[in-house]
C-alpha cells in the first residue's frame, strides 16, 4: 500500500512535469514562429515537445498499470483474509448473516474496490500533487491568473459538499420508494408463473410501464440535484479559464504581459481543474468500494476477536472408544437460552433418537456436539473431549457443492480419486443411504443444483456414511435424515442405521417420524426452554 502510494506519487510528479513542459514548449514554439524563427531554429523545441508528449503518454499508462496491479493485490489480500475470517466465525455466523449476502460481499463486493484503488485513488494522488504544482507554475509566470484559479478551486469542493448534503437528504427521503420501485420489475418477472395461473400476466404490462415511469420521475428528482455538483465543477473550471483568457488578453493589449506567458498560462489553466473533475467523476465508484471494504473490515475485526480454532487442528480420530457424555450442556443463541443443562450418555452400539417440538433445540444439540456453537458444560467421548474428526454428520440441509455426486460423497477423503478403495466405499455408502439409483458421475451445479430434494438428502447421507466407513468415526449424527424420503426408502435407511449401531457406532438421529422413533433403542424428548 505504501509502495503503491510512493510509486503513484512519483508518477504523478513526472506527469505534472510533462504537463508543464508541454505547455511551455507549445508557447515557445508558437511565439517563436510568430516572431519569424525558421523551423530549423525551432527544431530543438520541437524535439523537446515530442519528448514531453511521450513522457505524458507513458505516465498515463504507467499510472493506470500501477493502480490496476495495486488494486488487484489489495483485493486479493482482503479476499484471502476475509475467507480465513469467515472460516473462524463458522457456520452459525454465516447462516445468521446469510450465505448469499456473504458470498456477494466477498465476490462482487470486493470487486468494487477496483473503482476505489484503480480509479479514484490515482486521481486523488494526482490532485494532491498536480494541482498545487500547476498553480505554482502559473503563479511564477502570472500571479493574477494564479489568483483567479486559487479562488475558483476551493469553490468546487465547497459546492460539492453543499450539494452532496442537499441530495443526501433528498435521497434518504426517496431511498425506500426508489428501492421498492427498482425491485418491482424483478418481483413481477419472478412471479410470472403465479400471475399466469391467475390469468393476470398481460395486465402487468401496463403496470410495468406505470411503475417504471414513476421510478423515472422519482430518480430524475434526485438526479436534478446530483447533476448540479457536476455543473458547478464544469462551471468553475470553464469560467475561470474564460476569465484568465480575458484578463490575459486585456493585459497583452496594454503590453503588460508577453504572448509566451499568456499562452503558457492559458494551456495550463484547464489542466488545473482536470484531476479535481476526475475525482468527482470517480467518487461514486469509490464509495461502493469503500462501503464494501468497511464491511469486510467489520468481519475481520469480528474474526480477530475469536481465539484460533484449536479443535480443528486435532489429529486423527481417537482409537479409544467409549460412551459419548453430555454433562450439563447449555447453549445460548444471542440472548436466548436454547438448551438448558442437558445431561445424557450414549453408549456405543445404540441407536438413539432426539425428538421434541420444533424449537426445542434438537439441531442445536448437534451443532454443539460439532462445535459450531459455543456451549457451556462438558462433552466427552471416552476419556477425552469430542472432536469433529470423531463425527460423521448429515445435517438437515444437504449442502452439496458443485462437482460430481461421487466427489460430494468422498468430501474430505484422504483417498485419491479413482482408487479402488474409494470407489468401493462410495458404492457401499450409497447403498447404505438408499441412494444406489443415483449416478455417481452425475455433475452437480452450485449448491448441489441438479438433484431433487430427496436425492440430495440421500447423497448427503451417503457422504456421512462414507466418512464413517473410511475413518471409522465413533459417532454418527443425522438430522431429520428421512424428511424427504418415502416410507420404503426410510425403512431401508433405518436398516442401515441399525447395521451401523451393530458395528459399534454411537448413532444419534434427530427426527419426529413415527418409523424412526419405533426403530430407536431409546428416545430422548427435548422440551422447549421457557424463559420467564
Amino acid at each position: 500500500m505504501r509502495g503503491f502510494l510512493a510509486l503513484g506519487g512519483l508518477l504523478g510528479l513526472i506527469q505534472t512535469a510533462s504537463i508543464i513542459g508541454f505547455a511551455w514548449f507549445v508557447s515557445v514554439l508558437v511565439t517563436g514562429a510568430i516572431a519569424g524563427q525558421s523551423l530549423a531554429e525551432l527544431s530543438g523545441s520541437f524535439a523537446a515537445l515530442a519528448a514531453m508528449v511521450l513522457l505524458r503518454a507513458f505516465t498515463v499508462w504507467a499510472m493506470d498499470a500501477a493502480s490496476a496491479a495495486g488494486a488487484a493485490r489489495v483485493k486479493s489480500q482482503l479476499r484471502v483474509a476475509v475467507l480465513a475470517g469467515i472460516r473462524k466465525l463458522g457456520p452459525s455466523w454465516t447462516q445468521r448473516r446469510g450465505s448469499a449476502a456473504t458470498a456477494t460481499l466477498v465476490g462482487p463486493g470486493l470487486d468494487a474496490l477496483d473503482g476505489y484503488f484503480g480509479k479514484y485513488l490515482p486521481q486523488l494522488i494526482l490532485t494532491a500533487i498536480a494541482t498545487p504544482l500547476l498553480v505554482l507554475a502559473i503563479f511564477l509566470n502570472d500571479w493574477l491568473s494564479a489568483l483567479i484559479v486559487a479562488l475558483a478551486l476551493p469553490i468546487i469542493p465547497l459546492f460539492m459538499v453543499l450539494i452532496g448534503m442537499a441530495t443526501q437528504a433528498v435521497q434518504r427521503k426517496q431511498w425506500d420508494s426508489l428501492q421498492h420501485l427498482s425491485g418491482s420489475f424483478l418481483d413481477v418477472v419472478g412471479g410470472l408463473a403465479t400471475l399466469k395461473i391467475f390469468g393476470r400476466e398481460r395486465r402487468q404490462l401496463a403496470r410495468i410501464r406505470t411503475v417504471t415511469d414513476s421510478y423515472r420521475t422519482e430518480t430524475m428528482k434526485v438526479l436534478r440535484l446530483s447533476f448540479l455538483s457536476g455543473f458547478v465543477l464544469e462551471l468553475a473550471g470553464s469560467l475561470s479559464v474564460a476569465l484568465i483568457a480575458v484578463t490575459i488578453g486585456l493585459r497583452l493589449l496594454d503590453g503588460q504581459l508577453t504572448l509566451a506567458v499568456g499562452l503558457f498560462v492559458l494551456i495550463l489553466a484547464p489542466e488545473v481543474f482536470l484531476p479535481v473533475r476526475n475525482v468527482g467523476a470517480q467518487f461514486h465508484a469509490a464509495a461502493d468500494g469503500m462501503a464494501a471494504s468497511a464491511e469486510v473490515f467489520e468481519v475481520l475485526e469480528l474474526a480477530d476477536a475469536i481465539p484460533a480454532d484449536a479443535a480443528a487442528a486435532a489429529a486423527a480420530p481417537a482409537q479409544a472408544r467409549g460412551p459419548l457424555r453430555l454433562d450439563g450442556v447449555s447453549v445460548h443463541r444471542g440472548d436466548r437460552l436454547i438448551v438448558d443443562g442437558l445431561s445424557a450418555e450414549f453408549e456405543p452400539g445404540t441407536l438413539s433418537v432426539l425428538a421434541g417440538q420444533s424449537g426445542s433445540g434438537k439441531s442445536t444439540v448437534l451443532a454443539a456436539l460439532l462445535g459450531f456453537v459455543p456451549s457451556a458444560g462438558e462433552i466427552t467421548l471416552g476419556d477425552g473431549p469430542l472432536t469433529r474428526t470423531e463425527i460423521a454428520w448429515a445435517g438437515q440441509n444437504p449442502a452439496l457443492g458443485s462437482g460430481s455426486v461421487a466427489g460430494n460423497i468422498a468430501l474430505g477423503s484422504a483417498l485419491a480419486e479413482g482408487t479402488p478403495e474409494r470407489v468401493r466405499l462410495i458404492e457401499a455408502s450409497m447403498r447404505l443411504a438408499a441412494a444406489s439409483g443415483i449416478d455417481p458421475e452425475h455433475e452437480l451445479g452450485v449448491n448441489g443444483a441438479g438433484l431433487s430434494g430427496g436425492q440430495a438428502q440421500r447423497v448427503a447421507l451417503a457422504r456421512a456414511f462414507y466418512r464413517w466407513q473410511e475413518l471409522g468415526t465413533p459417532v454418527l449424527l443425522l438430522d431429520e435424515p428421512s424428511s424427504a424420503l418415502d416410507a420404503e426408502t426410510e425403512a431401508r435407511l433405518l436398516g442401515s442405521l441399525r447395521a451401523a449401531a451393530d458395528a459399534g457406532a454411537i448413532v444419534i438421529v434427530v427426527s419426529h417420524r413415527e418409523a424412526v422413533l419405533a426403530a430407536a433403542d431409546r428416545v430422548l424428548w427435548l422440551e422447549t426452554v421457557h424463559v420467564d
Binding site: 413481477v188 423515472r216 441438479g450
Partner: protein, 595 residues
Amino acid sequence: MLIENASLGPAAPIAAQATTADARDVLRHAQPGPRRFAPGLFFALLSAISAVALLACSAWLIARAAEQPQLAYLSAAVVGVRAFALGRAAFRYVDRLASHDAAFRQLAELRVAVFQRLIPLAPAGLARTKRGDLLSRLVSDVDALQDLPLRVVQPLLVSGVIAVLSVAGVWIVLPQAALTLLVCLVVAFAAGTLLHAAIAARAERRLAPGRGALMQQLLDFIGSLDVLLAFGAVDERLQELNRTDAALRRDGVRASLGAGLAASAMTFAAGIATLLAILVGAPVLEGPQLAIVALVPLAVFEVCGMVPLAVGAWRQVRTSAERVARIAPAAVPSGIPVEPASGDQTAVAPAAESDAPRPEAPAIVLNGLSARWPDLGGRDPSLAPGVALEGISLTVAPGERVLVRGESGAGKTTLANVLVRFLDYEGGFTLGGREAKAMAPGELRRTIGLCEQNPWIFDSSLRQNLLFAREHATDAELTAMLERVGLGEWAGSRGGLDAELGERGALVSGGQAQRIALARALLADFPVLVVDEPTANVDAAQADALMRDILSATSSADAGAARSVILISHDAVPAELVDRELVLSAGRLVSTGGL
C-alpha cells in the same frame, strides 16, 4: 421432476440457440427513438462545441491581443469566450437531464418488451432455479442496457461530430493542419481500440466466466461451511478458491493494462496533433490563426477521449443484450404451449370475477399422455430437463380428490405443469370431453388452477397478495378466507391484511406461503385444483398439519359444485382425506388403485 434446489453460477450458459438477431432486437428496444434521443444529443453537441470553441476563441483572443489592436477588435472574442464557458457547463447539465430522462423512458419500453417475451416461456421455458437467481440477473442485465444510449451511442456520435466539425473548422484556417488533425484522430481511434483489443480482449472475455466461477465457489464454500468443517475439507477448498482468485487477478490486471494503453494512446495522439499543427502552420500562418490550430486539437481530444470508454461500455452492453436474448428468446422453444396471438384479454378474465357459483368441475381424462421438458441446451446441470412422462392414463371424475404419490424424480411436477398447460403433451388430455390442445392455455387455466411448489409471494401487503386472485373481494371475504386456510391467527398477529410480506416473501415461512397460495386458489375458485408438493419446503414437524388443513379447506362447503383436487406429494396422506391414490414412478403411473 422439477428441480428446485438449483441456483446458477453468474456466468452459466443458458441456451445454445441464442441468435445474434435476437440480441440485436433487444438492443433495438434499448435505444430510444430519434425523437426521444435527439434533445439529449443536441445539448451534448452544444456543450462539446462550446468546449472546443472556448479554447479556440481564447487562443485567438490572446494571440490577437499580443498584436495590440484596438480593444473594439477583441470585444466579440471576449463575449464569445464568456458565452462558450457558460454554455459548456449549462448545456452539459441540460444534456445529462434530457438524456437520462430519455434512457429511463426507454427502460419502460424495454422492460415491457422483455416481459412480453417471458410471458409464453414461464415457467417451463425458463431455467428452473429456486431463488430466481437467473431472473434477478436477467433484470439487472435489462437495467444495464440503459447504458446503450447514455454511454455508447451518445458519446460516439458526439465524438464523431466534433471530430468532423473541428477538422472542417481547421480546414478553413489551414487545410494541411486539418489533415494532420484528421490523421491523428483516426490513428488514435484505431490504435486505442485495436491495442485494447489485442491486449485485453481475451483477458476481458475470461473475466466474466472467472467472476462466475469465483462466485460459484464462494457460494459453495460459505453455504456449506458447516459440512466442510465437519468433513475436514476446508483447507482444500480455500486453496482452490485462492487459485481461482489468483487467475482472476491476472486477467483483471491484463484487462486494465489494455484500457490504460487505449487512454495513453489518446494522450499521445493529442500531443502529437498539436506538434504537427505547429509544424505545418508555423511557416505559413499569422499569429492568431497559428494559436487556434495549435490549441484546438487539445480540446478536440478531450471530447474524443470518451471513445475508448464508450467502446468498453459497448462490449458490456452487448454481453448483457446477448444474455437477455438467450434467457428470453423471441421464439418459444418447442414443448411449450403457445398462446394464440389474439390480444383479447377480456376473454381470459378468471371465472372468479363473476359472482355466479363455481361451475361443475369437468371430468379430466388423460389417455396415453406423454410429455417432456424443452431442452434449453445448456450444459449446466441445473438446466437438465426434468423427468419426462410416458403413457399416462388417468380419469378424475368431477368432484373427485386424487392423490398422486411418487418418489423424488418420479415426474410429479411434470404432471402438474402439463395439467395447467405450462408444458405441452402428446396423446390425449380432455376436460369434459374437450381436447385441451383445442383450448387456449389461458382459457384452460380458468378451469384448472395450481398451487405451486414454490408459490411466489409479491413484495406487497397480504391484501395485495390475495386480491389479484379475485379483484373485487371485500376485506371480510379475504379475512374469512385466511381463517379457512389456517392463517387467521397469524394474520391477526401481523396486523391483518395490511401486513407487508417482504421482498420475495422474506417475512413468510414456507408453510405460510403455501397457505397464502391456497387462499389465492380458493379465491379464484378454480373448479379443478392441482396442488404440487405443498410440504416440500415446510418444516417436517408442520408438514402433516399443513396437508390436513389444505385438504379440508379445499373441501369445506362453499357455494358451487364439488371441486376436483389433484394432490401431488411424496408423502402418504391420511386415507379419509382423499378418494383415491395413484403412484407415479419414473414417469409412469404404476398403480391406479382405489382406497
